[in-house]
Symmetry: C2
Subunit: 347 residues, 2 copies
């Protein structure tokens, strides 16, 4: 009997181990569950089994265990919140809280839920195991996708409840902010303050929705002033990137008197760069952010925000998910949620 460890052709199961040691599968199972005391297995046997488990690199099959362990009288609902690995967890954590709340409300004797956040590498959603054969989730919320992921979703109909957040896909239930509306409102606020030399701070990697925000901003400004705003491109989404980009903007351009930063991480960096350059907010430069940062109200000065109305989005998402898991609704649908506008001191 070969004792090779990893990379074995045949999978290592309790049966393999049992054979290897010369005992029965149940003995192995007992040891694995630390129940050998109550079963009074011989210590020598236990040791041999333990050794084989290690040597053969045994990995328990949780699907099998679960199938065995579950009380047949209760239905188990597995809900996944799928998000790209590289994206911030802010919206995700709000979604999670709402989903959990809804799940708790529906939990009962014959009905259990488990909610988990699962990450995929941006652009590689299609590689996530169990998505296509429905062997992982009863329902999923998908967010923070990249164009490759959207392409995958557009050509795939998953045979279970799916809600897509922030993207338009004809074959799915989609919940998203009204495209373009956000950028337009941001522009109107800055123009309304009298700002005329406008700039928009964007990350180099744009999602569909950030791109649309920026475009709508540019279009609105152009239409009203005849001059397109400067696009300041930051390498990433974090404050450091924002500060860098704005510093280089100030050193190579005449600067601006109104800035729209398409994420609050960038706004925060922009604040630093603006202040460091001796300019004041909002007197010299008015700033509008998006409201995706939980502390926008604690920026100095507090940040005016025009962005997606996250609460409303999350509410829609959760409602749709549960309706679909209950077979109460099946058809694809696009739900547009109007933006939220919070006026504060920065503009």
């Amino acid at each position: 009997m070969r004792a090779m460890a990893r990379g074995e052709k045949r999978p290592v199961t309790v049966h393999t181990i049992a054979q290897h040691v010369g005992v029965s599968p149940s003995a192995v199972s007992t040891v694995l569950a630390n129940r050998h005391e109550e079963r009074r297995l011989a210590p020598a046997t236990v040791d041999k089994i333990r050794k084989a488990v290690r040597d053969l690199g045994y990995v328990p099959n949780v699907a099998a265990r679960r199938l065995r362990a579950n009380d047949p009288e209760v239905h188990h609902h597995d809900i996944g919140i799928l998000t790209s690995f590289e994206a911030p967890l802010f919206l995700v954590s709000r979604v999670l809280r709402q989903v959990q709340r809804a799940a708790d409300a529906r939990t009962g004797p014959g009905r259990r839920f488990s909610v988990s956040i699962d990450m995929f590498h941006a652009g590689r959603l299609r590689e996530m195991g169990g998505l296509l054969n429905a062997s992982r989730f009863n329902g999923v919320i998908i967010t923070n996708t990249l164009p490759e992921d959207d392409a995958f979703l557009a050509e795939t109909t998953l045979p279970y409840a799916v809600v897509v957040v922030g993207r338009r896909l004809a074959n799915h239930c989609c919940v998203l902010d009204a495209p373009g509306e956000i950028g337009r409102r941001a522009a109107e606020i800055l123009l309304g303050r009298g700002a005329r030399r406008l700039a928009v701070l964007v990350p180099s990697l744009l999602t569909q929705s950030t791109a649309e925000r920026a475009e709508a901003f540019v279009a609105t400004v152009l239409a009203q002033t005849g001059v397109a705003p400067v696009r300041v491109v930051a390498p990433g989404l974090n404050p450091v990137s924002g500060a860098e980009a704005m510093r280089s903007h100030f050193s190579t351009h005449r600067g601006c008197d109104g800035l729209y930063a398409v994420s609050d991480g960038l706004s925060l960096g922009a604040y630093q760069a603006i202040k460091d350059s001796g300019r004041r907010i909002p007197k010299d430069v008015a700033v509008v952010g998006v409201g995706d940062h939980e502390h926008a109200d604690f920026f100095d000065p507090p940040l005016t925000c025009v962005g997606p109305s996250n609460d409303a989005i999350v509410e829609q998402v959760v409602t749709q998910l549960f309706q679909r898991m209950n077979h109460r609704r099946v058809n694809p649908v696009e739900i547009f949620v109007p933006p939220s506008v919070v006026m504060r001191a920065s503009a």
Copy 2:
């Protein structure tokens, strides 16, 4: 045959539906997977099955599907990052990133990983399904526990890889910051600046580690000055709570010239209250935070931090988890990670 929907005693399975409609389980399965076209099922049959699925409130059993679907040649490792529902996701997301990285590095033809964040209600970890019978995870990282959860863990030995973060439990692998060390260093920094009227800002609900931080701070100040610092208690952990607590502190006490806030959310609120009261940082009040906020460097002025060294903790956690999943290590162990100190302008 009764057609009652929810709350049925017997679980609804493909078999139930098959019986109800008068077809075979395989027909039902085919419809559920949207494969009725290629199987050329009669449309009428499909409709009847669809209707029964809805009427009976069928919920697919993902464990069974997965058991069936998995290629026997590949080992599937399910890793869970378990965190309390009410806690912020900041550290968790860093852990996730590192775990995912480690998993990706180990993924190969016969070896797949899936990592997910699962939440439990604070204090109710024991109620999380599948934890005890090992039917959900091959390995877990547990964090943000409350005393009730710790009590549960202390009396439970899970038969798979477990790493506990931030708590000491004799029967588990624990990774945590050096207790007391953090509060002591924070005190030393403030005292070293010449501050003498010290205060510590804490949330009303203290975790074991925040409590120890605050205690060590108090003890150090008392030992060196003979006067205990004022404890300012905030209702929660967010900036709003911090600001409130500090405002009421300023209105009822003489104030302080050195503040240690045991979380950066509180620091941020404290900043606002301090500035609003006309005091300057660090001239009138020096502030030390913890460094648990990703933007501490972008506070105005940047926040001096003394806190757990998250990178080092995360690294240890991930190393331990994989060693344990590989059976390379089994015994409980306590790993203390020294604090990180970052001096910035606020103190």
